[in-house]
Amino acid sequence: MPQQSLLQLKKPRRPLSRMSRLPLRIALVLPSQVIMLLVVAVPTLIVLWLSLTDWQPTDNIPWFKAEFAWFWNFYDLVFDERFVSAVLRTLFVVAVCVSVELCLAVVLALLFLDEWPWRKIAVSVIILPMMVVPVDAANSFFMLFGDHGPVNELLSLVLHRPIAYAWLADPHWALLPIILAEVWQWTPLMFLLVLTGFLNVPHNQWRAALALGASPARAFFRIVLPLSLPVLLVAVLIRAIETFKIFDVIYILTRGGPGATTESISMFMYNGAFVYFRMGYIAAAALLVLFVVISVCLAIYRPLHRSYE
């Protein structure tokens, strides 16, 4: 059959649909991006709207008919001593927890760089706290630091006098059990991430440094640490974001008390939204907190980005 007739047998081309006119790479990701946009954008727009209203479910009106309050919620939040304290306190907890976790993780990871008997079993034991349900972990610390709990019992033994100290009711000490519970549970995650980072450092560089007479400390600070810095920063970023959302430990241990001395930003928002149903006010708080979190993340991300460059 001549070539001409073959061409004639082909079906006439239909006009291209809008979708097929898109470049393939865009057409492939577009459906998922549209879904993501709906999942993210719609709630964000609702939060944005609520933050500009004074809506409470107790008003018995639908949220979309709420009275517009302009920027009063943001204004009130800036002067809300409890909110500002909760943000600062949460940042303090993040700074302490993440620093301690990082230091412990680095020390532990160094111990696990070389092969030694029972190493794998030891790793499994170390990461066990991470597997515990956070509420159970918090409950354990609640009992540990109870008036007649093991911590006081231990102190009584050491000091040779009965100690029944109310750790969780003391404004100066109540944060300590919270920080300890958080560090105990999440150092293993940091340890795994740091260990991965250290193990990915080319061994030949490190060994060469040692062979050329560098001390182990010098080799660590000059070679291992700089090369694993991107992994460490990612680990810090992940834990900082997670710790910023700290809730279960505080809820179980102190419920934000005594007074509001251990109230984190999540506790503040939980109370506002689900105890007092101040949805508009808490929506505004959520947006302000989002701004703070993005700022903190950017501060951590910049050096990470620079190290990649």
């Binding site: 107790t58 008036d147 029944a164 001395t261 149903f277």
Partner: protein
Amino acid sequence: MQNDPETPYTPGIDRRSFLKSAAAGTAAFAAGVSLLSLARPAKAAGSLADVQTDAAKAAKELAKGRAVTLRILEPSGSLGNIKPVAERWTADTGINVEYIEVPLGEINQKVLLEAVSKAGSFDIALPASFGIPDLAESGILVDLDQLAAKYEPEGYQDSIIYKTANYYKGNFYGYETDGDAYVMFYRQDWINDPEERKRYADKYGKELKVPDTWEELDQQLAFFHRPESGRYGGALFRSQYFIAWEWWVRFHAKGFFPFTDDLAPQINNEAGVKALEELAAASKYLYPGARSNGLFENFEGYGKGDSYANIGWGGTQKYLNGDKSGVKGKLTYGPTPGGIVKGTLVRTPYFNWGWNYVVSSLSKEPEIAYLFTLYAVSPALSTIAVRDPGGYFDPFRDEHYKDPDIIKLYSKEFLDVHEASMRGSIPDLYLKGQGEYFDVLRVNVQAADIGQKTAKQALDDTARDWDRISRRIGRKGQTVQWRFLKGLYPQEARSNLT
């Protein structure tokens, strides 16, 4: 300040005369509440004696030919009170009852969430009474005026002692089913100890007895506080959820309402500051768990027998009068102490919790649900509910104080004080946003107690935040409700408070 310590003390009301005068004093209070009923539709014609039978019959008729199940949202721990009643209801009507149990402190939230989600997951709920204003405003509660007019027989509520929380802005929203007035507990054996009596008389120049005023109580807490020999002054609450309630009574006992008629907070006046300073000073004489213990730990701790005084409700007494208690038979009781106002002893016992049977506006069977509440709160059935030794419900009807099982459970001496306290109780702050007002107060009172703020600073901060809350919620509506609520304070309190 009215409560001038220099003003000569007129022994207006000691504990004994308090018990007598409470009955008379609350006649006016009852009359105040009954004013509400003037504006309500006329009562149904049924007889009070047959109320539970009539309610069951009416429900059976309404459910005829259909399989109806009522779902009750109840705070964990109250099943012991509800179940015996619900089982009789099912036997009488053929209508099943399902229970949805939620944690004690979360039930009001769950009911409010229902207002948002419109899920219609329950027909009846038992929220804490102080949350009724918020729940009523959310639209989740049925205004029961019409149903009560249809089914409630004349005199049905007459023997319910405390009814203030049943109403909001003049409308009827639910039946109080728990007599939660604050009562004081003291070690009778310590008071009667001749050596202690002598030492006390030598030290303070007066007789050791159940205290009439907070000042006297604080003195006794200090007197009995000997931690070196394992004795403590008291087990009064200093944990966050409870601490503000004690301050509330101390403040009222100094002769002031929390707001002026125009809803300006006056909690930060001289009396309020003094009340908070005294509360914080008394904390030195409490047992070690005071700042961390919740309700159950409190009465279990006091039950060990190493503290002189405690504060609590009927549930506290059920435990302390039980076999697990180390102080059974060693206690005496008193109303919450008062204060000297214009030379007269003024007591302001306080109803600060309670559970109310309410009907969900999303219920498909609101009428049957209402009939269940009428049935459950009837004199006969509520007596069965209150008899449960493990549940929360404490006596709240005249009939309960005469029931031999209830007398055995609580003891006659306790019930006398409890009944008098119920009759003379000042109400909780039944305003929209009650939780917010009280949360601010709690946080600041505790901050002062632990020394983070001065009493003045804590109460100034509270007053400022209360103003903000009132402004946000709507000062006009809040003022109307406050004036209404103020009118429901017992006559004796009203005439002595400014």
